[in-house]
Assembly symmetry: C2
Homo-oligomer: 157 residues x 2
């Protein structure tokens, strides 16, 4: 496959959100995707961009992407946080994910981040196998906790 | 206790790092704290601040703090990420943590975040009990994955 990697542009956002939704389905949580296209575009290409993404294309069709933002750790300093790495189902296992992930490592080298971090579902064996090839440190024991926008809004101080 | 909550200042950073280290000891990972005071100050009070914190003080002594930054989710948009919430051991269980956490919820209300999120260790029962009072959603099944700065630097594209 002659896969091309490039920085995502604003006009890619609708396609990226389709892939976000495909990933959420795969992760068994499609109802959790509540962001709008407008919010997504604004966060990536507005006055104060918070995320950056690379796309993988084949014959002009975006078949996957990797999206990151900078995360701050009191232990480690600034790290690249890989929010999403997704290759659409029909094109998995053909090396596009590796091209994207390698591009992120290069980005982390170039920008001098103090590490890269992300999360993976404990039943997602193909993904864990993929990350193991990079000798990533994969650690259990942490629970994700959250309050929703509705809970925050309703809370009486 | 007459605990005062205020926004952290640059001159608080050394004390905050002491408390970060105390938390890392409690979380059985003191070797993981590799950030320097200078990096920490720069990240909070430099050209492009990435974190903000509130301190809890008693008679002028900082007994705890809550530190957050903005996290971007492709599912949810911008959320407050609570990186650290720590009360020094001698002052736990006396309400200072609640004051800090309530202040964060207020911040999330004021700044219009789409949620609050954080992580808690699965064996940290007092913390889980504390978050349960807020009816936080606490979810297992995700593994934390990372590459260190050394791994990134050594990687050959």
């Amino acid at each position: 496959m002659d896969v091309k990697i490039r920085v995502a542009k604003k006009e890619d956002c609708a396609r990226l959100l389709d892939l976000v939704y495909e990933l959420a389905l795969f992760e068994r949580a499609p109802q959790e995707v509540t962001v709008s296209l407008q919010e997504f575009e604004e966060a990536g290409f507005g006055v104060k961009p918070v995320w950056k993404a690379y796309t993988a294309s084949l014959d002009g069709l975006i078949i996957g992407f990797a999206l990151y933002y900078i995360r701050y750790s009191t232990w480690k300093g600034q790290r690249l946080y890989l929010e999403d790495l997704v290759i659409t189902e029909a094109f998995r296992g053909k090396g596009a994910g590796k091209l994207l992930f390698d591009r992120l490592i290069q980005e982390a080298q170039e920008l001098g981040f103090n590490g890269m971090t992300w999360q993976v579902l404990d039943w997602n064996e193909p993904a864990i196998k993929f990350y193991n090839k990079y000798e990533a440190n994969i650690e259990a024991g942490w629970l994700n906790a959250s309050l929703s926008k509705e809970q925050i809004t309703a809370y009486q101080i």
